[in-house]
């Protein structure tokens, strides 16, 4: 019976291990974690890879530089919309009106430019303020009156369609001809600057990672072995450089015409991803959002103003929806009475959920929106290259969505079987 005590780390508190183990150990423990089902973004990324392989085999244009650039501009709007929705879903709420909020905000922007000759900055600001105000009203109705967010946002989904119709007239549309706004999806970062940005981002990432690692070591806190940190930096560097390289190729299909460089929408999405990841994981605001989503009563007892968090989340989500509306308008070159309607919202929520965000609150990350948004955009993009009848497209879209989600679900099931 004497061997039992060896297990106890009597010296320190608990069995809490903080020491850095070797790279090999870290890899083994990661493999163990994955075996145990704790896979993070792995399954969703795997789902995306499967899609890339399938579509890549089905049509060899799919993996061309031109199509990759298309994919990025096509995914932009849904990713940004889904990022806002992740916030709402983190609280366990839903925002059915996010799509049309984007449409309404974009209409405001379009009208400010077309009818009132405002500069693009003012117009975009106008759109975002419109979104924020809509979010404010929704948030107040949900948190102060306690009406379920499903009903409030369903009402706004309808009401805002009316507003859009009123703003731009039955069957009408507003042209978005402003160069900067159209440029978000149409223009590209000059090749040189693309490389510079990529290198700078890699350098900053490396610096921050190494610094944080050093602090943890010196304070004796939990940390990964240094080799893992280097591996992470390496992975980020490779991905960024490859993407930059591909997008910096000339991708114009017709000779005599040059299209090269990273579409502006990509740095925009990356900036938003970094911003929201920072907010959610490194600020107390983000922490409070998770807490309210996980257990609102516990959050309240911890002194968190639950109502204020909820209102703010709706404001932020609707502002993101407005931004998404601007990107969509940029891509379409106009805002129409049907902007943001149809299935936009369902797709965006689906993107967040496929990425790994829970509909029941408390679980989700900004990157879920990016991965899930790419999945959704890839389905439309890939199918578009295949040239099938409409009914086949519907059916295949449904089937592929299911496929992408089931990769994720099956892996998570293993985790729950192992009790995590």
């Amino acid at each position: 019976m004497t061997d039992i005590t060896t297990d106890a780390d009597e010296a320190g508190f608990a069995n809490d291990r903080t020491q850095s183990n070797t790279f090999g150990e870290a890899v083994r423990s990661y493999v163990n974690r994955v075996r145990g089902g704790d896979m993070g973004a792995l399954p969703a990324v795997a789902g995306l890879l499967v899609l890339f392989i399938v579509f890549g085999l089905a049509n060899d244009r799919f993996l061309s530089a031109l199509n990759m650039a298309n994919l990025i501009t096509q995914a932009g709007a849904i990713i940004v919309l889904a990022m806002g929705l992740v916030l709402v879903l983190l609280l366990g709420d839903i925002d059915l009106s996010a799509g049309v909020t984007g449409g309404a905000s974009a209409s405001v922007m379009g009208l400010l430019i077309a009818k009132h000759d405002m500069p693009w900055g003012v117009a975009v600001l106008g759109a975002i303020v419109t979104g924020a105000v809509i979010g404010l009203v929704i948030g107040v109705l949900v948190s102060k009156l306690g009406i379920p967010s499903f009903v409030v946002t369903l009402a706004f989904f309808l009401g805002l369609q009316g507003l859009i119709l009123k703003l731009i007239g039955d069957g009408g549309s507003v042209r978005v001809d402003q160069e900067v706004i159209k440029g978000i999806t149409k223009n590209n970062v000059p090749v040189m600057w693309g490389w510079i940005f990529a290198v700078v981002i890699i350098a900053v990432f490396a610096l921050l990672s190494l610094r944080s690692h050093r602090v943890k070591v010196s304070k004796g806190l939990q940390h990964q072995p240094i080799a893992v940190v280097f591996a992470q930096i390496g992975a980020v560097a490779v991905i960024l450089l490859v993407v930059t390289y591909v997008l910096n190729l000339n991708r114009a299909p017709n000779p005599g015409f040059v299209i090269e460089g990273i579409p502006y929408v990509l740095p925009l999405v990356i900036a938003l991803l970094i911003f929201w990841t920072f907010i959610l994981s490194r600020t107390s605001y983000g922490r409070h959002v998770y807490a309210v989503g996980g257990n609102p009563e516990a959050a309240r007892r911890a002194g968190i103003n639950v109502d204020r968090i909820r209102v703010s989340v709706f404001v932020l989500a609707s502002s993101m929806a407005a931004l998404s509306g601007v990107i969509a308008a940029s891509n379409l070159g106009k805002v129409s009475t049907s902007s943001g309607g149809s299935n936009t919202l369902l797709y965006a929520v689906g993107a967040a959920v496929i990425g790994g965000t829970s509909l029941f609150g408390g679980k989700g990350k900004a990157r879920d929106a990016v991965i899930g948004g790419l999945v959704i955009a890839t389905i439309a993009n890939g199918l578009g290259l295949l040239d099938q009848a409409a009914y086949i497209n519907f059916i295949v879209t449904g089937g592929v969505l299911l496929l992408a989600a089931s990769v994720d679900a099956i892996s998570r099931r293993r985790r729950s079987a192992s009790g995590l």
């Binding site: 379409l332 070159g333 993009n381």
Partner: protein, 342 residues
Amino acid sequence: GGSDSSGGSDGGNGGGDKVEGKIGVILPDTKSSVRWESADKPALEAAFKAAGVKYDVQNAEGDADKMQTIADGMITDGVTVLAIVNLDSDSGAAIEEKAKSQGVKTIDYDRLTLGGSADVYISYDNSKVGALQGEGLEKCLGDKDANIVYLNGSPTDNNATLFSQGAHSILDKNAKYKKVGEQAVPDWDNEQAVTIFEQLYTKADGKIDGVYAANDGLAGAVISILDKNGQAGKVPVTGQDATVEGLQNILKGDQCMTIQKSATGQAKALAETAIAMVKGDKPETTGTVEDETGKREVPAILLDPVSITKDNVKAVIDSGDMKASDLCTGDFAQLCTDAGIS
């Protein structure tokens, strides 16, 4: 599907012995009318196939974003002539601009893209459609006082607005007619149309003498309510698209007229034009149409819509747009025979 003869996407410019290049067509949706999938697509594919040209025909399913995505994909795929049925002018213009910037020629099919850069516009005259509907209703009502209800298409669809304006331009002139209700049906949704019309009917206390319904689907919804109130056949209803449903209702006497915009005819025109353009020839046009937004005259091929009533249902079958066997099912066999259709 019609992908079988598209020759694969790897063909590039090497193999074709007849025509180099490829034609892309993007249809708008599956909801506003069934013609896109059931008439245009087969007709186009048949014409392209016959001409031995590579093609790609897709449907944007009512989603402007999706149309942009498809267009990007087609251009990626080496399409040299792109025909679109825009979902609205501005998104269409964006697509055409992008295409032009990559050296792809464009055609506006069925709907004119205001402010666009299409090389040719091929369509039925849409404002004429509404006018024909108005005239048809006028004929069915005859020369008496009448309360009229307008059931327009989707408020977000610009064509619906044009149809309605066309009808008003005729009916508003007649002093005997009085408008007792007018509603737009969101998304052309037939189910909502039932409720909307039932309420207009109730509001007018049943005193309705004629109904302007923007297309055959909406007309069907209207007839369902008239039938429930014992008024079917007594109150004339207009329609559009010459669908099986509409023609059957006409044969039955429940609907007074519909508009045929022969998809086969229009598709034939598109195919000819596109093939000419792929070959580098200048397409033959019948005139021009003014694009007020773009401030230019667009070369156009304008086809004439045909008004169909009980008397000339047969013309639709004769045009090849519809098979008699599709129309003359079950109880309608007898009515078909009566109308001289076999």
